[in-house]
């Protein structure tokens, strides 16, 4: 079966390849014909490819020396063509690289390799959202990765490409199942609400809602939550991702910038001849790590001892593992059986781009397919189309830029993840299939885990993000610009629970089958008129920006449950359901407006001051609390330009800058209509009357949460910037915390939305070191090291002791602490776990004895990347490292001796190993004292242990095939891997997602080819 599906996968890959090649050749042949007609007297066609030694460089300006009008620009694949006489000299210039001067000497094909000029990296412009800035003149903190880094990783979610590459940005993959979510925290947890820490995503200038439209009843069993909206963005269409971190960079996003801003920019066409680029890879994935579980011998000896301890002389009728009902010679590694499969990935992308000096375009299409590690035919598919069109009038006064991204995902998965089942199933549990190949129920003594695969979760999502930017230069230095954005998200989800998921002995027919359906959509438009003004004043330059934002987002959701079908064949037809329940039908509207501005003064690129501000209004707050002001000031001093440093021409210090910023930003991620006292329709039917119930506890008086951010940084370049160090210190304080304050159950609810008079501080040190060890013609070696040392602290919390948070937080400690029992070893008499009795009352009880504090926030994290180029070979690798503590397997596993499998380490138990044992006296569950002790143990410091890890996050090896003289301009083969190696002492499966219920991120290896024409 495996072989067939493999062939299918590879076979499917060939069709687009052949079709792509066909497409690519057609216009290339046409070009050839055209070229023959263009005979220019005494001039030769000079052509070639411009590379940086590894990959082609598009956008390089190349001209004949002394004839600026001859200038042309290399295309997407680094190719250029121009006419020149045999004695001319070519000049190739490109930002970030040293200018190359090459005499033609009668040659017709001249390939040029540009040398990177580290110094001028400082000239690279960074996207700050509403404006761009030269990196050297930046007053704020913005981290960036480009398509070069993204392309080296076979990933499906843009956030996966950021992992380990940026300081201050901590990203965790929640599950290895395709379509699942990622958690991102930029500079720590600001909000005490776990869901209030998401950054603002902006795709090509359009705010992109990170709120999922998913229906958790349909997806929570498999995706660790709801489907991630970021899957609607195709990583291979991205040109860059910028993360705005400090006040200077985020204040212009005002109320939505508190948790940082992620700016996603898609690829655009470049001037030059029509280019085709084809990129395809195929890969395989397995789990990174699994648990080391007991085998049958170890397991049964634990069980028997447990029964002996409990004084049972006869095994109970339902203890099938030991009472002889199950074969005691069977030994199955359930992790291999249930989650040990190989996931296949196939990805192909074709791009056409080009354009004249006035109009450039790019169109690309991507197909992506993935299977899973679960048994069965689960799969994920993605199709993406990206277009970009740029036009400017001949006088350059009017410009229009249009971009559109359309993305469809189809995810077909089992309804629930089998990870937990694989860990707890007894190793001598029965075979999955009987002799006839049917699911084996072993005389109804177990529930066959594969039966759940008869259920199915299906999600179809479609995402459209379109943006048009119109700009017109009104006067010299004054530009009017309007950005018009539209996003449209649609989700169709379903989950079926057919009666075949249950043991046939129950006699359930299709009248027990259930269908969950969710149809949701959200669309939003944005208009952002802006005015830019630029003028030289004195020795410097002043830049002003004023603008406004209007956003209107409407969303709707219809979630239904149908049950009781005439036949399982009709299970997708809601009309066939005997009983239909509408779980929810929502209509939401979110309106947002803002006025923003920026004033920047730059004196000879030496002293720079930048002030930004925004006034925001959001419909999520009640009248009277609706508007708020945010603002920031940033300043930079490029001291390396001062005469007293630069006068001796000693190039030891090549660059030096000090910068600092202070300001505020806010957070309105609380959902719509929370300030209204409303009743929801529940869909509960009582004799034909559909019920309504209070939506929430009513509290109209909540307002904006504010976040004050301070940052100071130094940037130093040594030896021609071959060693470049950035060190930043930040301090963010969030106050007036907007939280769902947990309440006692006696209120009827678990929380109420309110502002809490508490202040959370995040401080941290971010270090980045970039070094160039070798910069030779044939060999380059560069290294990037980044390290973040964050610290979270609860600064203020009036009346904490009498609040519902009294047992969750401690002033002066991080907000990710847990207050637990302090485990003090095994009692040599009883063989049970013992704990510290803090209040000395002779009893171990909650909450008075839960005083031990464990912090699960990362202590430090970072990445270490190296890039080697040798002739046509390039190799990149990235190690990601995290120092942290986390809940380990002991937290979720049952007590030792129960009818569930356990890690091998649980075998180290009392009394066999005395008080040095890890595990207490085994019990089958009859020993109440042992269970009490076990319950406290899972809530003690013993279940929180080191979860630090070093992971070879990404490694990529590529070889550029020489293509001199052929139609193909570039040809490259590559081998890429994600999560290849993990070094950790974590007690559990994976130290990244730390989950007992969802599969960890996959270890993936992919082989690919890139062709350019």
């Amino acid at each position: 079966m495996k072989i067939i599906s493999l062939n299918k996968g590879l076979g499917a890959l060939w069709y687009p390849l052949i079709f792509g090649l066909y497409l690519c050749y057609t216009p290339a042949l046409a070009n050839k014909v055209l070229r023959q007609n263009q005979s220019i007297s005494q001039q030769n066609q000079i052509s070639g490819t411009i590379t940086d030694g590894t990959s082609p460089l598009p956008g390089v300006s190349i001209a004949v020396k002394g004839k600026p009008k001859s200038a042309t620009i290399s295309d997407f694949n680094g190719q250029y063509i121009l006419s020149a006489s045999p004695n001319d000299t070519l000049v190739a210039t490109f930002m970030g690289f040293k200018t190359a001067i090459i005499p033609i000497n009668g040659k017709k094909i001249i390939n040029i390799q540009l040398q990177e000029d580290i110094t001028t990296l400082q000239e690279v412009r960074v996207n700050a959202g509403y404006y761009t800035v030269k990196e050297s003149e930046l007053t704020g903190s913005i981290a960036k990765i480009t398509s070069k880094d993204i392309e080296k990783q076979p990933v499906n979610n843009p956030l996966a490409a950021l992992q380990g590459r940026m300081t201050g940005v901590n990203i965790i993959q929640a599950t290895g199942t395709p379509g699942g979510g990622f958690d991102i925290q930029i500079r720590g947890m600001n909000s005490m609400r776990t869901e209030g820490n998401a950054p603002l995503y902006v795709v090509d200038g359009v705010p992109y809602s990170s709120q999922s439209l998913g229906f958790s009843s349909a997806s929570s069993g498999i995706l660790a939550g709801t489907t991630s909206p970021l899957n609607g963005i195709n990583p291979s269409d991205l040109e860059s991702i910028e993360v705005l971190k400090d006040a200077d960079a985020t204040a212009i996003y005002g109320s939505r910038g508190a948790n940082g801003v992620v700016l996603i920019t898609t690829k655009k066409g470049k001037e030059g001849k029509t280019k085709f680029n084809l990129n395809a890879y195929t890969g395989f994935g397995k789990l990174t790590r699994t648990m080391n579980l007991m085998n049958t011998e170890q397991y049964l000896s634990m069980r028997r001892e447990a029964f002996a301890n409990d004084g049972s002389t006869e095994y109970p009728v339902n203890a099938y593992d030991v009472n002889g009902k199950w074969d005691q010679n069977r030994d199955t590694n359930w992790q291999n059986e249930l989650i040990g499969g190989t996931a296949e990935t196939n990805n192909i992308q074709a791009t056409i781009s080009g354009g004249s000096s006035g109009t450039q375009y790019l169109v690309s299409g991507t197909m992506h397919k993935e299977t899973t590690v679960f048994p069965g035919d689960a799969k994920y598919g993605k199709g993406a189309v990206h277009t970009s069109l740029t036009h400017s009038t001949e006088d350059g006064l009017f410009k229009i830029n249009f971009s559109a991204n359309y993305n469809t995902d189809k995810n077909v998965l089992p309804p629930s993840d089998l990870t937990y089942k694989a860990a707890v199933l007894a190793p001598n549990a029965p075979a999955l299939y009987d002799a006839n190949g049917n699911l084996n129920w072993e005389n109804n003594t177990w529930s066959n885990p594969l039966a759940s695969l008869n259920g199915r979760y299906t999600a179809n999502t479609a995402t459209l993000i379109a943006n048009t930017v119109l700009s017109y230069q009104l006067l010299q230095g004054l530009e009017l610009k309007t950005s018009l954005g539209y996003t449209d998200n649609r989700v169709e989800e379903s989950r079926i629970n057919p009666s075949t998921m249950y043991n046939p002995a129950f006699g359930f027919g299709s009248e027990r089958s259930t269908l969950y359906v969710n149809n949701a959509s959200s669309h939003s438009w944005t208009i952002e008129p802006q005015l830019n003004w630029q003028k030289k004043v004195g020795g410097g330059e002043i830049n002003m920006l004023a603008g406004a934002t209007f956003q209107d987002q409407k969303s709707s959701q219809l979630s239904q449950t149908g049950s009781g079908f005439p036949s399982n064949g009709l299970i997708y037809n809601l009309a066939a359901a005997a009983r239909l329940k509408i779980a929810s039908n929502h209509f939401m509207q979110y309106k947002y407006q803002a006025f923003f501005g920026r004033i920047n003064y730059n004196w000879k690129s030496k002293y720079i001051i930048n002030a930004t501000g925004r006034r925001d209004g959001s419909s999520r707050f009640g009248p009277g609390n609706r508007f708020a002001n945010f603002g920031a000031v940033g300043a930079a001093w490029v001291f390396s330009k001062e005469v007293f440093i630069n006068n001796n021409n000693n190039s030891f210090l090549s660059f030096g800058k000090l910068r600092a910023s202070y300001g505020t930003s806010g957070n309105d991620q609380i959902g719509d209509y929370q300030f209204l006292d409303t009743y929801n329709v529940t869909g509960n039917n009582y004799n034909g009357v559909i019920g309504v119930q209070p939506s929430r506890l009513f509290n109209p008086a909540f307002g904006w949460e504010t976040n004050k951010k301070l940052e100071a940084a130094i940037e130093l370049g040594f030896l021609d910037d071959r060693i470049f160090l950035t060190a930043a210190y930040y301090r963010n304080r969030s106050s007036n915390q907007l939280v769902g304050i947990p309440l006692a159950g006696t209120t009827g609810f678990s929380s109420v939305q309110a502002n809490l008079d508490a202040t959370v501080q995040n401080t941290g040190l971010e270090l980045e070191l970039r070094t160039v060890q070798f910069r030779r013609r044939n060999f380059n070696w560069t290294t990037n090291l980044n390290l973040t040392i964050p610290k979270n602290k609860l600064l203020e919390f009036p009346n904490l002791e009498s609040s519902p948070y009294a047992n969750s937080y401690v002033i002066g400690q991080s907000i990710s602490i847990q207050k637990v029992y302090h485990y003090t070893g095994i009692n040599p008499q009883t063989g049970l776990y013992t704990f510290e009795d803090y209040d000395g009352d002779g009893q171990i009880s909650s909450p008075n004895d839960q005083r031990w504090i464990e912090d699960t926030a990362p202590k430090w994290f970072g990445g270490f990347a190296n890039q080697w180029n040798y002739k046509n070979w390039a190799m990149d690798f990235l190690f990601q490292f995290v120092r942290q503590k986390a809940r380990n397997y002991l937290y979720n596993t049952s007590w030792a001796g129960d009818m569930v499998n356990q890690p091998v380490a649980i075998g180290n138990h009392w009394p066999a190993n005395g008080t040095t044992s890890e595990t207490q006296l085994y019990t089958t569950g009859e020993n109440g004292e042992a269970l009490d002790a076990w319950s406290r143990y899972s809530n003690s410091n013993a279940t929180i242990s080191d979860a630090s890890y070093i992971r070879l996050k990404s490694i990529s090896l590529s070889y550029t095939i020489p293509t001199k003289g052929s139609q193909i301009s570039t040809a490259r083969v590559y081998l890429q891997a994600q999560n290849l190696l993990t070094f950790t002492k974590y007690k559990g499966a994976d130290p990244e997602n730390q989950s007992s219920f969802f599969i960890p991120p996959l270890r993936q290896i992919a082989l690919g080819i890139q062709l350019g024409l």
Binding site: V317, H586, F587, Y590, L676, Y679, V689, S695, G748
Partner: protein, 465 residues
């Protein structure tokens, strides 16, 4: 050409100025309409229909997500396993298994479900009481009926909470600031408040049902609970009086002689039952208790309960189902006989039925030393079961016979057996021999651990946990 350019600039500046004026005037942009898919609270209580929808939701929640639900989250199953009615066969470490084994910890999710769903429904009931009180549009009979039902629900849930957890807060407001920091009140105070609510409900509720189906409580339903509350509180005379009110209302409630018809939705002995929701559905109890393969996937009737049936008791044949797999026979509660849908619904979950009132009156009369009439009441039950009359002539003997009769008549109905063992002080005596992990603390469930963390006023935890 130059002029043209200047005119163009002027026009553009004018346009920008216009846009600025427009922007300035649109602070109201962020005002959204009221949500189309929700109702503002005040609107709910301006119309008797929407207010009835709020009340109907309470009943639907009680049926599906509360302590009286018919599946293994509800007390019929939880306390049936906790006492000696059911034997657990399900998966390891389920909340229900800990009830069966008497290893219930404060972190048990079954315990927090009982607590949280209970108080959630009390909130909904309080919201109706307040909404109706503040409504200008709902008046007269509608107002009395809605408020009466809401007060009844509030008393009903507090009654179960106080019997499961001991001292508990009695919640009579929707104000979360008050409710999040409440303290536990002594059982006696909680009982007084339950009685006060029920007396008021009894006053407000009409004698008639809203429909033939008896799916919303009437005056007699309040009496039925009141009779039980008085019995539990040891107020024998009042218990007897309340039970008699119902028994004497023969125009509404008649004895059902056929054991197979007791649990049908049209039974004239039924005082209050829950509608299954959608037409064609039957009870959750039926779907949950009945099994047709062995071994049972969750639970089966215990050996102790089987042994407790007297020889010749017809209820054993009519109210228990069984399945034999060749070696073992397993029994399940078969009071509700349907575990699938039918064209029209045939069985509703009956919360209060006439037979219990006879048993209440018998017990009250036994305590009041009215032994003859007490015997008559029990014998009414016994005759239907095909058993001979009892002739015991001591109070103690009669009380023991009543306990036995309640055990058989009311088995696996909303924890009757457990509450009887507990209130008569026999739980320790009887269960310590059956449950190896039995401890004295077990007469009360622990307050959920998360609640003690959220509200320190609830401390201390029940003794022994």
């Amino acid at each position: 050409m130059k002029y043209y350019k200047q005119i163009q600039s002027v026009l553009i500046i004018a346009l920008i100025a216009l846009i600025c004026f427009w922007l300035n005037g649109c602070d109201s942009f962020t005002e959204t309409d009221l949500p189309q898919s929700q109702l503002i609270k005040t609107a709910v209580f301006q119309d008797v229909k929407t207010a009835t929808a709020a009340l109907s939701d309470c009943y639907a929640q009680m049926r599906d997500y509360s302590m009286i639900t018919g599946n293994s989250d509800g007390i019929s199953s939880l306390m049936g396993n906790y006492a000696d009615e059911l034997t657990y066969y399900g998966v390891s470490d389920a909340p229900l298994q800990h009830f069966y084994n008497h290893t219930v910890l404060p972190s048990n999710s079954g315990v927090s479900f009982l607590w949280n769903s209970g108080y959630n429904q009390i909130y909904a009931a309080n919201a109706i009481v307040e909404g109706v009180e503040n409504s200008t549009a709902i008046t007269g009979d509608n107002r009395n009926r809605l408020k009466g039902e809401a007060l009844f629900i509030r008393a009903f849930i507090h009654f179960y909470l106080v019997n499961l957890f001991g001292d508990i807060p009695y919640i009579a407001t929707t104000d979360f600031k008050t409710n999040t920091a409440v303290s536990r009140q002594p059982e006696a105070d909680v009982y007084n408040k339950i009685i006060a609510d029920l007396l008021e409900a009894k006053n407000l509720l009409p004698e008639t049902y809203t429909s033939a189906q008896r799916i919303r409580p009437n005056k007699y339903t309040a009496s039925a609970l009141l009779a039980r509350v008085y019995l539990y509180a040891g107020n024998w005379q009042l218990a007897e009086n309340e039970a008699s009110i119902i028994i004497n209302k023969t125009a509404l409630y008649q004895w059902q002689d056929d054991l197979d018809q007791v649990f049908l939705k049209d039974s004239p002995a039924s005082i209050w039952q829950l509608h299954p929701g959608v037409a064609g559905l039957n009870t959750i109890e039926g779907r949950s208790f009945i099994f047709n393969s062995t071994p049972p996937s969750i639970e089966a009737v215990s050996q102790e309960l089987l042994d407790a049936f007297e020889t010749g008791d017809e209820r054993k044949n009519h109210w228990l189902g069984s399945i034999n797999d060749g070696t073992d026979t397993y029994y399940f509660p078969f009071k509700y006989k349907l575990n699938t849908n039918t064209g029209t619904s045939q069985e509703y979950s009956i919360i209060f039925r006439l037979e219990e009132q006879y048993l209440i009156r018998a017990e009250a009369r036994a305590y009041l030393s009215n032994l003859a009439e007490a015997r008559d009441d029990i014998n009414k039950i016994r005759q239907r079961a095909g058993l001979s009359d009892i002739t015991v002539n001591t109070s103690e003997g009669l009380l023991q016979a009543i306990l036995q009769e309640r055990r058989i008549e009311l088995f696996t109905e909303f924890g009757h057996r457990w509450f009887d063992l507990k209130r008569t002080g026999q739980a320790n005596l009887i269960l310590s021999t059956i449950k190896p992990a039995w401890k004295n603390r077990d007469t009360l469930l622990p307050i959920p651990a998360s609640e003690l963390l959220a509200n320190s006023h609830l401390l201390p935890q029940n003794q022994g946990y």
